[in-house]
């Protein structure tokens, strides 16, 4: 019917990279997941940042919200999310909200962190919806001729004063878009244009390279609109170590172009999963796409495990079962034991 592959950056591409099998059943076929356990903190973090920015703008760009006001707002928003079926992982409501507030307005001062102030005061454009259409060769994309890539960039920032980054992304191979985060100093000057993406994970995430490629691609998609920004920034809002919260990513023409090419390759992989699903759904293996060359039991990282343990498709997932191994005395591991009613 349609010749367009509609792809959301986070909902499809990154989710597919984490586990093609879970993506195929939940996103492609439409199985409703029974728990959104991973989402609560992420939703709260994004809402907090968006609300703080709006608050500042509504107060003539002069006044920041207080810690108590932020807490009250998150309490209110928590109820809305709960009503929509979004759940916390292992913590209570108060603990979850307190953790988010502590990371943004740490005690004992209870004032916004410098990086929070910087992004709130410099925000030019929040929740920037990105859409880009790329023509592709049908033979390479399973009969489709166009890709609609969508994503939501958290914020475009024009710095209002200097800000020092203590962690910087170092490109080790620009062609393959590889690199690593290193301890180094980079200073944003007043007026620098940047794009920021908020992350609810720790800075040591397994998916750091994917996040870097994502935000670099966003820069490419935005180029026609705002020109190339000075740098991209990842803000790990739940990172406890202050100097690790921000990661500055230098960009240039090569990496920006490479980001788009890399993204289209991911769309191609995703389309391959669709075609494979159409032939034989059971043949799609679970686990991290990047680890497909490794034995089954090595394809689940610690971070992915948090997703697998609440996944509705885990009971007959050979990858996850291999990762868990058998339970006590050779019995079924309790995490995939379909008779274990002590676990949801």
């Amino acid at each position: 019917m349609s010749d367009v592959i509609e792809v959301s950056y986070t909902g499809d591409l990154l989710a597919h990279r984490r586990c093609p099998r879970a993506w195929a059943y939940e996103k492609h076929v439409g199985m409703h997941p029974y728990e959104h356990v991973q989402a609560m903190e992420g939703y709260l973090v994004h809402h907090a940042m968006e609300w703080l920015t709006r608050y500042y703008q509504e107060h003539d760009r002069k006044v920041h919200a207080t810690r108590q006001e932020l807490t009250d707002q998150l309490n209110y928003y928590f109820k809305i999310l709960w009503g929509r079926g979004i759940r916390t992982t292992f913590r209570s409501r108060d603990e979850t909200i307190e953790a988010v507030v502590d990371h943004l307005y740490p005690l004992p001062k209870g004032k916004p962190l410098p990086e929070v102030k910087a992004v709130v005061e410099g925000a030019q454009h929040e929740e920037y919806p990105l859409r880009s259409v790329r023509k592709v060769v049908p033979a390479r994309f399973g009969g489709k001729s166009r890709v609609l890539l969508t994503g939501v960039l958290d914020v475009v920032v024009q710095q209002q004063s200097t800000l020092t980054y203590r962690r910087v992304w170092k490109w080790t191979d620009e062609d393959s878009l590889s690199g690593k985060a290193v301890v180094a100093t980079q200073v944003a000057k007043k007026g620098d244009l940047e794009i920021w993406d908020y992350k609810g994970t720790r800075s040591s995430t397994d998916y750091l390279e994917d996040y870097v490629r994502q935000v670099v691609t966003y820069a490419a998609l935005l180029e026609d609109r705002i020109g190339l920004p000075k740098r991209c920034v990842l803000f790990f809002v739940n990172e406890p170590t202050p100097e690790k919260r921000l990661l500055a990513i230098p960009i240039n023409r090569a990496v920006v172009d490479g980001g788009v090419d890399w993204t289209l390759e991911q769309v191609r992989d995703l389309r391959q999963t669709v075609l494979q699903m159409q032939q034989d759904p059971l043949s799609i293996e679970g686990g991290d796409l990047r680890r497909r060359h490794l034995p089954l039991k090595e394809r689940v990282t610690e971070e992915l495990k948090a997703q697998c343990t609440a996944c509705g498709q885990r009971f007959d997932c050979s990858t996850y079962r291999a990762y868990l191994g058998p339970g006590k005395n050779g019995s079924e591991h309790p995490d995939v034991d379909i008779l274990n009613v002590a676990k949801n």
């Binding site: 439409g30 029974y34 728990e35 859409r131 609609l148 498709q313 009613v341």
Partner: protein, 810 residues
């Protein structure tokens, strides 16, 4: 940038797409936003490039007038149409910026991503969320139709007022059902004369009443409190007051729950539109012919601010949704409406068809102009023409024969076409091997009864025999035995209220806790619920357990492992030493991992599993803010008598969910994923907005029924004479009503036929005397006298070829 340069750039961009700007047509006048423009109505025939023109007019606003993107709003009919529009907009603006840069023009970022595109419901929600502090504070969530039905089913007795017990005074819903002149307006032609007799039929009736009242009566009569037209009929005093009461109670309920349904969000937006007026400069409305009165009120409501512009595009010959509350009068009467509001009005017409061949355009135009649609005054004046240089194309065909033979011929033709495409794609990577074909029928129901076999069933059989996958989302059989939807509710029913065979009063009988016979309750596995519930859920359970050679006391070997598993889970839940954490949804996830469900391949069965999870969610969501949440761990306990006691919310789930699935003919969801690489079998309504290389059209001659027209007129406060016949269907002799009703039928067929790009074939079986199988008289008239030859694949099928394109100058 001035207009001339802009139009040059448009010409350049479109030229690269193979269709330059037609400067002699209305296109430049449509693209250009003129100084005095307040309302522009674009009358656009099928395939005339209305989306293209809408997009360029919007880009003109951004680039030439410099309007901020977030101050532009486009409403589309579906989310899919919104995506198509987004794609087109992004493609065109990128191409325009590139073309401008080549000429040394440095255009500023038009922030095209910020243009507000969506369905009217989603846009109303988003705008209120952004600009109305009260709405924002409420945190209301928009709910879909499934959830609306579930909420109504759970609440209508208590919140709205219904009492089925004989001898008790009739409550609100009882009164509305008892009014035959009202009920008949909502009774579908295929429903029996006792409709609405069960719980779910009552829910669907109440919802239809709420929608029609909110979307038609409120905007047209609410201000003046003009009485509903039904009230003028004898014995119907008080209808208006009852409907107002119904509406108010339902809105009160929705607000108390922090949710909003589709009708409610429009009303809420209309009330709060003043807070948003200053935020928008130009509103674009696609598919305006399917607008309902409340939507018209919203669209014209923007004109309260004199600087705001409104551009609407549509085709009155393609209005299809009167049955869902839209009124073609909103489109036809826009000029008069503008006059009343004092708004300036301009109309432009797009008559060239860029989609279809000359033969198809000539045939469909002949059909349109010779049918009632060609009656002066009934529709706005236009004449469809082929694009300049359009191919003559193959002749339009009318295939006449036995339906099964026709089905086999269709399948054989499509299989052959698929093979041709595959071969072509092997030598040229630019060619897509995906078969682009649709079979369009008035009804695509695949229900098979003892006396009738639905036409869609034969088509599916024929296509699948040829190895072609079929996508039919409106089949009405998604919940039938053998479907995962059916089996999963059966297994939930078995978990909570297993049916057993017991000796009661000396007789071996089927026993379960929610059965009607109180003397059986002490023998049930579960303790009976505290109040009577529908035992429709048990029907699913019994059918499942008795299928495949099984019985209540001897499970089929094909089901034994699943039933044993459910027994074990029940046992574990009751006897577990640690507090169970297993929720109902997680139980279903475990079931879905069993081979019976998992090993189904990429078939409709897989998508029905997904449908079940969505329906379950619609049942769980309303309970989340209550103490008895269905999200919580299932906590059955064993009572002192050896029976299992389940919390009340699980009985409520069985009551509502079981009855909903039992009484409603469930459709599959429209999911793009399954449509991919399949032959689409769609109703005329579903085909709207789509186009295909190959189109087969069947079931074109349904009866002309006046109920939808009557409903619109009466809820608009008009007084029209009508009666009810012995079958409890409405009848009228009103000429205007009958003419409008006939036009509705002809429009459906017109929309279906104009979806074809290159091959159009009409199917007709003269030996089948069912009403929907008749040939539409308009098609018969156009094809009369055409040359006939036997079909090369089956000589029993006669081919009438129509080459009208020769007579038309392109």
């Amino acid at each position: 940038m001035d207009t001339a340069v802009f139009l040059d750039l448009v010409d350049e961009v479109l030229g690269r797409e193979g269709r330059a700007l037609d400067r002699k047509s209305a296109q430049p006048a449509i693209i250009t936003v003129e100084g005095g423009d307040q309302v522009l109505q674009i009358l656009a025939g099928p395939g005339s490039g209305k989306t293209e023109m809408l997009v360029w007019r919007l880009i003109y606003e951004l680039v030439v007038l410099g309007t901020a993107a977030e101050r532009l709003l486009i409403t589309t009919f579906t989310r899919k149409a919104a995506t198509e529009l987004e794609v087109r907009l992004v493609e065109r603006i990128d191409a325009l910026l590139a073309a401008a840069a080549k000429r040394g023009m440095n255009l500023r970022d038009p922030h095209v991503h910020d243009v507000r595109i969506g369905t009217i419901h989603s846009l109303c929600d988003r705008l209120l969320r952004e600009f109305d502090p009260d709405y924002m504070a409420e945190g209301a969530e928009l709910i879909d139709e499934h959830e609306t039905n579930v909420r109504l089913a759970r609440e209508y007795r208590f919140r709205l007022g219904f009492d089925a017990r004989p001898g008790y005074p009739p409550r609100l819903i009882n009164r509305l059902i008892d009014r035959e002149m009202l009920t008949a307006l909502f009774r579908a032609p295929w429903e029996g004369d006792r409709w609405p007799a069960n719980n779910i039929a009552r829910v669907l009736y109440v919802r239809a009443l709420l929608d029609q009242h909110t979307e038609t009566w409120l905007p047209r009569c609410g201000g003046t409190q003009k009485v509903n037209g039904v009230e003028a009929m004898a014995g119907n005093a008080g209808v208006t007051a009852d409907l107002i009461d119904l509406h108010d109670k339902w809105m009160e309920y929705l607000e108390s729950q922090g949710v909003m349904d589709f009708a409610g969000i429009q009303e809420r937006f209309l009330e709060g539109q003043a807070t948003v007026l200053d935020e928008i400069d130009h509103v674009f409305v696609d598919e305006f012919q399917d607008t309902n009165p409340i939507q018209l009120a919203i669209h014209t409501g923007w004109l309260e601010r004199p600087e705001t512009r409104l551009t609407v595009v549509g085709d009155d010959d393609q209005a299809l949704y009167r049955w869902r509350g839209s009124d073609i009068q909103c489109f036809i009467g826009l000029k008069d409406e503008c006059r009343k509001l004092g708004a300036t009005y301009r109309r432009e017409v797009l008559e060239r068809n860029y989609r279809s061949t000359r033969n198809i355009v000539a045939f469909t135009e002949a059909y349109r102009s010779r049918s009632v649609l060609g009656t002066p005054g009934l529709t706005l004046d236009k004449k469809l023409r082929p694009a300049r240089g359009a191919d003559l194309g193959p002749p339009v065909r009318l295939l006449v024969g036995d339906w099964r033979s026709l089905s086999a011929v269709v399948a054989a033709e499509l299989k052959s076409e698929q093979a041709r495409l595959k071969k072509a794609a092997e030598s040229d990577p630019e060619i897509s091997e995906v078969l682009d074909a649709a079979i369009l029928l008035f009804s695509t129901s695949e229900k098979v009864t003892r006396v009738a076999r639905a036409p869609a069933v034969d088509l599916r059989d024929a296509l699948e025999t040829r190895g072609l996958r079929v996508y039919n989302p409106h089949n009405k059989i998604a919940g039938r035995p053998g479907s995962p939807v059916h089996d999963l509710i059966a297994l939930i029913s078995y978990l909570i209220d297993p049916v057993t065979k017991e000796r009661v009063n000396g007789r071996l009988v089927e026993v379960h806790a929610s059965c009607r016979e109180a003397d059986r309750w002490p023998f049930a596995v579960s303790m009976p619920p505290k109040y009577r519930i529908s035992d429709a859920h048990a029907t699913f359970q019994k059918q499942f357990r008795k299928s495949e050679g099984g019985g209540i006391d001897r499970p089929s070997p094909l089901h034994a492992d699943l039933l044993t598993y459910v027994d074990d889970v029940r046992e574990q839940l009751v006897t577990a030493r640690r507090t169970p954490r297993l929720s109902l949804s997680a139980f279903v996830a475990r079931l879905l991992s069993r081979p019976r469900f998992r090993n189904c391949g990429y078939t409709v069965s897989l998508f029905r599993q997904a449908l079940f999870t969505a329906l379950l969610e619609a049942n769980i969501a309303p309970s989340r803010r209550t103490m008895a949440s269905l999200d919580a761990a299932m906590g059955p306990v064993s009572n002192g008598n050896g029976q299992i006691e389940w919390p009340k919310q699980f009985w409520q789930l069985l009551d509502v969910f079981g009855a909903l699935l039992h009484s409603a003919d469930l459709d599959d969801v429209e999911v793009e994923a399954f449509a991919d690489q399949a032959v689409a079998m769609l109703t005329f309504h579903q085909a709207k907005g789509l186009e295909f290389e190959h189109v087969y059209v069947g079931c074109t001659g349904r009866d002309v029924t006046p109920q939808n027209v009557l409903r619109t007129m009466l809820f608009s406060g008009e007084k029209v004479r009508y009666a009810i016949n012995a079958g409890q269907q409405v009848e009228t002799k009103d000429k205007k009503v009958l003419q409008l009703a006939q036009a509705d039928r002809e429009r459906e067929v017109y929309v279906a036929m104009t979806r074809a790009k290159r091959h159009l074939t009409v199917l007709y079986d003269p030996g089948d005397d069912r009403k929907i199988m008749r040939l539409n008289p308009g098609i018969a008239a156009v094809s009369d006298g055409s040359q006939t030859t036997p079909h090369p694949l089956d000589s029993s099928v006669q081919v009438h070829e129509l080459r009208l394109g020769k007579e038309v100058r392109a």
